[in-house]
């Protein structure tokens, strides 16, 4: 232990990470020292400040990186280059937006999280906690820790940092996934499944790191890249190691055959967390995958191509076909996220400059639509109808069964229209951001010689369009059960006296009822819940991003293009 020299640390370049992780630690202290009543506001302000601060720090770092091409920090453990900044910016942006949805509460003061996640579902203890109106504010530091891990993940410059970041981002997510207020068992099952499979993937990943270390004698990306270029007779070790590392990353992005957790976790996790995780985890994991494929294993591309091609094709096909047969909104979006992983993979396989830009842009537009869509899913609720006087009963959990969304376009035109916008963006219809994203990855793939992948991609897209469109059909073209099948039922308009008064984005959503189509006689109706308005603001931001990046993507693309090269 002699001669340890502390590396000089460029704190400025690390500032987004430092801000978020520092705020997370302060958040833990807030839990301990701030009185319960003020805790939520303090935590919310702290986490919003931290994530917005990270965003600002990224903006401040931008000109320097654009000029110099990036710096290595912590002796090469963290690489702050152009793609890192784009990914940091995207992650911080969607963390801010997700936090708005996570923090939002309905008119009755409920948020999306269990009052006491440790309580056994259905126990008296849980009931007491609910009646006392307890809120768990630990979610905020947990989200911040996860965000911090996500920031480090794509910026890591050696495999050990990468692994630590993976664990830092995963562990809070395992916890958060199990904290849903409703359907506790489903949520805990999701959490358990995510944790076990995640731990398994981590083990594979770690084993891969060990093999790579054995082959190259280093954990640094740059050293490994050099070692892979020189033949040494131990290529099988290298190949197995790289495949295991890729498997760990592909697990995080939900690519086939490592996708099985996705629909269950998307369904079971609290919806605001699903949105956060669907957007930010995917951005972080694809960022890391992009860096590794482009800078660590470029010499292995002929060996890895077959694997990546197979994974990409399977991912597109399984995601699309899986989504076609789902009946639960969150599962549909879960499978659709798998299909999108496949589309993004085609951009990664392109292995060219255009591919980097295309993937980074795709992640941005996919994140906007995902956070927005799950935000809307969180607002659409079930409500019991008390038969005695017909007055509406208490609002229950989310109405995630597809049939419950029937007629939403008539009762809540603006909300349904926004959801349709996100779906069209997922489907890649021109003039939405999703189209530019898809165009980018497919044209990168064709340019890189992977046109069969692009062809399968467009075929999968047109099949995928079917289930997105099916939801739009349900919302706009299907009325309540009584009106269904008639050309235009007049009774569709009867319950909705305020159909003509579209809700404005600011004042929360107006609750209007519509009878569930398949259960016309049941007492459960679908309603859009009134909230404090944070979620509506978040959804509005996402919708705006989706439209602006669809019609005038130029500034964003050019900004990304200007910095889209990795440090070696």
């Amino acid at each position: 232990m002699s001669g340890f020299t502390a590396p000089t640390i460029d704190w400025g370049a690390l500032s987004p990470v430092v801000i978020v992780l520092g705020a997370a630690i302060i958040g833990v202290l807030v839990e301990a020292f701030v009185p319960a009543r003020a805790r939520r506001n303090a935590q919310l302000a702290l986490s919003l400040l931290a994530t917005i601060g990270a965003l600002v720090a990224v903006v401040l770092l931008w000109p320097g990186v654009e000029e110099s091409g990036g710096t290595t920090v912590l002796g090469g453990s963290v690489l702050v280059d152009g793609p890192t900044l784009v990914l940091w910016g995207s992650i911080a942006l969607f963390a801010v937006i997700s936090l708005l949805i996570i923090a939002d509460r309905t008119e009755t003061g409920e948020d999306a999280f269990a009052p006491n996640a440790a309580a056994v579902p259905g126990s008296d203890y849980e009931d007491v906690a609910r009646r006392k109106g307890i809120h768990q504010t630990e979610i905020y530091p947990l989200v911040l820790f996860a965000t911090g891990g996500m920031l480090v993940f794509p910026a890591a410059g050696d495999l050990l940092t990468l692994f630590v970041a993976l664990e830092v981002l995963s562990l809070p997510l395992y916890l958060l996934a199990g904290m849903a207020r409703r359907r506790r068992l489903l949520s805990q099952e999701a959490s358990m499944k995510y944790f076990l499979l995640g731990a398994f993937a981590s083990a594979l990943f770690l084993f891969g790191i060990a093999l790579i270390y054995g082959y190259s004698g280093s954990l640094r990306y740059a050293d490994i890249a050099t070692a892979t270029g020189t033949p040494s007779g131990m290529e099988s070790v290298l190949l197995v190691g790289s495949v295991l590392i890729l498997a760990g990353l592909l697990f995080k992005v939900g690519a086939v055959p490592f996708h099985t957790w996705t629909p269950d976790v998307y369904q079971g996790a609290p919806t605001p967390i699903t949105g956060f995780m669907g957007a930010c985890t995917k951005i972080a994991a694809f960022g890391a995958l992009l860096r590794i494929v482009y800078t660590v294993f470029p010499d292995l591309q002929w060996d890895l191509a077959a694997i990546l091609w197979t994974v990409a094709i399977l991912t597109m096909v399984v995601g699309t076909v899986g989504a076609l047969v789902q009946s639960d909104m969150k599962r549909v979006l879960g499978y659709s996220s798998i299909a999108h992983s496949g589309f993004i993979l085609t951009g990664i396989i392109a292995l060219n400059q255009a591919g980097i830009t295309a993937v980074l842009f795709y992640l941005l537009v996919y994140g906007a639509a995902t956070v927005g869509a799950f935000g809307i899913v969180w607002l659409v609720r079930e409500r019991t109808r008390q038969s005695a006087d017909g007055s509406p009963g208490p609002i229950l959990g989310e109405a995630t069964h597809l049939s419950q969304w029937a007629g939403l376009g008539r009762t809540n035109p603006l909300l349904a229209l926004t959801f349709a916008l996100f779906l069209l963006s997922f489907a890649g219809i021109p003039l939405t951001a999703g189209f530019i994203g898809k165009f980018g990855v497919f044209s990168a793939a064709v340019d890189g010689g992977a046109w069969p992948l692009a062809l399968i991609g467009v075929l999968a897209s047109s099949a995928a369009a079917f289930f997105y469109v099916r939801i739009i059909v349900l919302m706009f073209f299907t009325g309540s059960a009584s009106a269904d099948g008639e050309p235009t039922g007049t009774d569709v308009y009867v319950p909705a006296g305020d159909v003509s008064a579209p809700i404005s984005a600011g004042d929360g959503a107006v609750a209007v009822e519509t009878v569930v189509e398949t259960e016309a006689r049941s007492t459960i109706t679908t309603t859009v819940v009134k909230t404090e308005g944070l979620a509506v603001a978040a959804i509005a931001i996402c919708a705006l991003l989706t439209i602006v990046m669809g019609i005038a993507p130029s500034p964003v693309i050019e900004a990304i293009q200007g910095v889209a090269s990795f440090l070696p």
């Binding site: 530019i436 075929l459 369009a465 706009f476 693309i557």
Partner: protein, 511 residues
């Protein structure tokens, strides 16, 4: 009237603003929604006349009224619009139809529902669609064309799905998926075509992609991808099956725009993209396409004869007519191509009139079944007269403009492919059968008792149809102005394809 005024952009922006205005109309003013929509459509028409005046008809082969701005330079995409004679003719045809459709929709949606508010949204969608139509006919950038080609589906999808008949959802989804499938395959070809070109911030301009030196196999694949998308849109046999369903379920006004205008994007795309961009592949594929066109002509006509539903019948007549248009385009003579271009305009006018009249008929009776009608000639004589003239235009009676275009197509085709021209005349005979038999079943014979009180055409309805019939009569006797617009571009297209023209009248085999 300076030539630097952005006529085409104005033609695109005004309807969009109109649609937004209608959408955001305050509650108190909503009862004026119809007037607002009509006013916007008339303003657009006036702008269209202005564009025609600014257009130099002596140089109609050149792209005029051209505007170009960088849109997404990073991807090589520009906002570039401009029209030659054919593009302008189709733009004008579309903006003539839109106010008439608005006029016809006055009661169309009203009669079905209590809320007039429904009509407001329908009209907003029509105006939005009008903007897309003008833009797609004038796009001079392949990416821009593709974006509009696909984005256009969304308003039509909602127009069918929200305002259509009993099976509207099925029809809307079928329409969307068919079109999307074709369009997405075209997307790959669009990307590949761009990579064949020089790239750069203006790499997608049609002008920069014309005359590329592409490897034969690649060119054939690209051609097929484009052609498939356009054939679905047109629609041609065997990818036409979405059209009868869509036309049957859609409101009459939507069918008018869908069949009369939107489907032209398919044939327009073949003419202005497939031929100039892939000349060798076009020549390579022409024989097969001509056979498919002939099948479309006869198959569409034969199925039209057998239809029991009036809207489906008109849809199948269109399949037959699109066969003629495609035949003329791929016969590669200046006469046939000019004929096809003129045919596109005339078909919009005559089919538009048929759909709107059929819509009025259906609104009176409440059913689209032909067997529910009969003997209306005596009860509604004016209606019968209008319907007969519109019908005769569909079967291309001399004296009406449709005759000129069909004649040009057949004569032009005969010069190169006599056999194909002869086979296509079967379609002309079948047209007489399906139209006259339709007229016979609906307007002659004994009238069912409950049809006695049927109202004749109202003034509003006459105003919606009369301009179309008048235009067809004018162009039937004085086709010169229209042919001046479409003939010079036809010669340019032939040059681009690299085929020597065969003047009509000289008997010469294919070269």
């Amino acid at each position: 009237m300076s030539s630097s005024f952005p006529w085409l952009t104005a033609l695109i922006v005004v309807p969009v603003l109109g649609a937004v205005l209608l959408w955001a109309l305050p509650a108190g003013l909503r009862k004026h929604a119809r007037s607002v929509a009509l006013a916007v459509a008339v303003v657009v028409l006036a702008l269209g006349v202005g564009a025609l005046l600014a257009f130099d008809t002596d140089a109609s082969q050149a792209i005029q009224l051209y505007e170009q701005h960088a849109w997404i330079p990073a991807l090589g995409v520009s906002y570039a619009v401009g029209v030659d004679g054919v593009g302008l003719a189709l733009v004008l045809m579309s903006i003539v139809l839109v106010p008439l459709v608005v006029l016809a929709a006055w009661r169309e949606q009203d009669s079905l529902t209590v809320a007039t508010d429904r009509l407001r949204r329908y009209l907003a969608l029509i105006l939005l669609l009008e903007a897309f139509i003008v833009a797609v006919f004038s796009a001079r950038d392949v990416f821009l064309f593709y974006v509009l080609f696909e984005a256009m589906l969304v308003p039509v999808y909602f127009m069918i799905g929200m305002f259509g008949g009993a099976l509207r959802r099925y029809a809307a989804v079928k329409f969307l998926l068919y079109s999307l499938a074709g369009g997405l395959i075209m997307l790959i070809a669009v990307i590949a075509l761009y990579l064949q070109g020089d790239g750069g911030p203006e790499g997608f301009l049609t002008a920069n992609l014309t005359g590329l030196d592409i490897a034969p196999t690649t060119e054939k694949l690209l051609f097929l991808a484009f052609f498939l998308a356009f054939a679905i849109k047109a629609p041609m046999f065997p990818v036409h099956t979405w059209l009868p369903d869509a036309a049957q379920q859609a409101p009459a006004g939507t069918s008018t725009l869908l069949v009369g205008v939107l489907d032209k994007v398919g044939t327009f795309g073949m003419l202005t993209l497939c031929l100039p961009l892939f000349p060798d592949a076009s020549r390579w594929a022409a024989p097969v396409i001509i056979v498919l066109a002939l099948v479309s002509i006869i198959y569409g006509a034969a199925l039209a004869i057998g239809q029991k539903d009036i809207m489906r019948l008109i849809a199948y007549t269109s399949v037959s007519h699109f066969g003629f248009i495609v035949l003329g385009i791929f016969a590669f003579t200046s006469t046939s191509i000019a004929g096809s271009s003129f045919y596109m305009v005339n078909h919009g006018l005559s089919t538009g009139a048929m759909f709107l009249l059929a819509g009025f008929l259906v609104a009176r009776r409440g059913t689209q079944e032909i067997s529910a009608f009969g003997g209306l000639q005596k009860i509604v004589p004016v209606f019968a007269g209008f319907f007969l003239v519109a019908g005769l235009s569909v079967l291309s009676l001399p004296g009406l403009s449709t005759f000129i275009s069909e004649f040009l197509v057949i004569v032009g085709t005969f010069a190169r492919h006599p056999a194909a021209a002869i086979v296509s005349t079967v379609g002309v005979v079948l047209a007489a059968i399906y139209i006259l038999w339709l007229y016979q079943r609906v307007f002659t014979g004994p009238a069912p008792a409950d049809l006695e009180g049927t109202a004749d055409l109202r003034a509003r309805e006459r105003w919606a149809i009369a301009p179309l019939l008048l235009l067809m009569l004018i162009f039937g006797f004085v086709p010169r102005p229209a042919l001046d617009l479409v003939s010079p571009p036809a010669s340019v297209t032939l040059e681009q394809v690299g085929v020597t023209d065969v003047p009509a009248g000289t008997d010469e085999g294919s070269n």
